[in-house]
């Protein structure tokens, strides 16, 4: 019912018909889907019933594991520096990869990543060794590559 409360508040605050239409299209439809498509007991099925039509999928366990670790990122950039020193040119810069992994669940459709250049990540793990936050960056790279992130026509672009 959260969608309805938000829409009422928005309507009272702005008195705008555009807000009303927007809420009907998004919030209300969402809530309807949630009410109608409820499948008790199975969180994944419930998630898919609510958010599946919007193109969202629950992350697989590996994405979630790496994503949680990637959230410790300080964005210090040492992995980028070390990777450049090792003459690596992976399709995704290691720092971008970690930031992407941390946001993969929520921002899958809006990741503005640079286009694919260079060679596949050689998994030399130099980035992982310099990471002050202890993130297994080469694993993140391998996982994102397996998902197709960073390729020219990947869903990230």
């Amino acid at each position: 019912m959260r969608g309805y409360r938000g829409f009422l508040r928005e309507l009272l605050r702005t008195g705008s018909l555009r807000a009303l239409r927007f809420q009907l299209q998004t919030g209300a439809l969402h809530t309807l889907r949630q009410l109608l498509g409820r499948q008790a007991g199975d969180p994944v099925a419930e998630f898919l019933a609510s958010y599946g039509p919007d193109g969202l999928r629950p992350p697989d366990p590996e994405t979630r594991r790496l994503g949680l670790q990637a959230e410790a990122c300080l964005v210090c950039g040492l992995c980028t520096l070390e990777c450049a020193q090792q003459r690596g040119r992976p399709p995704l810069d290691p720092r971008d990869a970690v930031v992407a992994a941390a946001r993969l669940e929520i921002d899958w459709l809006r990741l503005g990543l640079s286009p694919s250049v260079g060679d596949p990540c050689g998994a030399c793990s130099a980035c992982t060794h310099v990471c002050p936050a202890g993130i297994p960056i080469h694993e993140v790279q391998a996982h994102l590559a397996s998902l197709g992130v960073g390729e020219p026509d990947s869903p990230s672009r």
Binding site: C76, G77, R89, H129
Partner: protein, 454 residues
Amino acid sequence: MSVAVVGAGLAGASAALALAEAGFEVVLLAAAPGASALSAGTLDVAAASPGIATLPWRDALRGSPLLPRERLALHRRGAGSHPYGQFFGAAEHVARPEREVEAAVARLAAWLAPHGLDLVGSLGENRLLPTVAGTLHVADFAFHPAADADLLTASALAVVELPGLEGFDGRALARTLTREIEVLGLPACPVRVVYPKLPEGLLRDPRPARVATLLDASEARAALAKACEGLAEPGAVLLFPPVLGIAETRRVASAIADATGARAAEALAFPPHALAGFRLQRALDAALAAAGVRRLPGRARRLLETDAGTLRLAREAEGDLEAEAVVLATGRYASGGLRADPGAVREPLAGLPLFDADGRRIDGIPARRSARKGYGNEQPLYSAGVRTDRRLRPLAAHGRPRHAQLFAAGDLLGGFDPARERTGLGVALLSGLRAARAVTESLRRPQRRHGDVP
């Protein structure tokens, strides 16, 4: 005799290097580079900043710039809890601290020089160095090539624009810097932006680290030097973003200087483009390897005491590590030396009590409880750290050293805020060397009973 040092930042590295020189077998346990690897290009012992009232760079009465040695005296007198206060006391004799600082910096410079990194400066002169944001930083000691950007000795400044380079806007830098020079009433120094015709492919990947790596190759730096010909007159400074090579910085800068007659310098930069800190860490690592320091990767988990009373470090992955003395240079929150968990702030290795700048204990209570409301207020968490006796042995809750052979150095020492006071690297260097001296004295004299106070 073996000594274990935990942490490979400037504090840990200088302790390890000094101990290796003193003839000890040194084991360095390091999970990752230290916070030194994120430094901007200066080594501030007595920091000052035109923008921060608590870091005066001019004499309030005479209006003339304060020299680093005068600021060092201010740091000692003003901040009771600052490690300098403990190192040097409040004595009016400035000669001894000055000698110690200059000797420490000379020692570090001698360690770094064989590995391609030059450290210059003195307590008797200021350098005004521009940052990539166009603000000015007052430095006493600085690394090449940032040190060469000194506005006080430059006839003119030409900012080199590298279009599209990540984290750099030459025109914005020049605009801000021009205003900064005006506002601070500095001698006029014309600032302009120059656009070299860059070698093909230099900026294909626009990250400073990649460009710097390309410039380590001799053809690329020759091509850049040729492109810079005629852009600046002799005596001027060609101010680059941080891209002038990583391993071959000296050669890149001198190639450009030879081609143009101007000084090739870098603006001070911050993470994620902190190339200067990366070079420092690289040179420190090379110096450690050359000194025969045994380096073990991985994170220490817990500091324990054996039944015989000696120290033992439990590691996360590998087996335990025994040592006759241990130097903790584990830093603060980012490196894991301190933990600010939701439940409590703590020192995870030995459970040492932590104090803020006002001397209040703040370990064991939730981080949010010690926070102070209000923008710009000093935050106790930022000055948290251990307290030590005069020989840098961290104190336990009862007020005596936790262990006769346990020492601490660097940011782990509490009582100051390295980010606000900007003395992080200065404290790291001085405390690292002091800890090494304390270890040497303590292991070379007859052992005292455990827990005794000297």
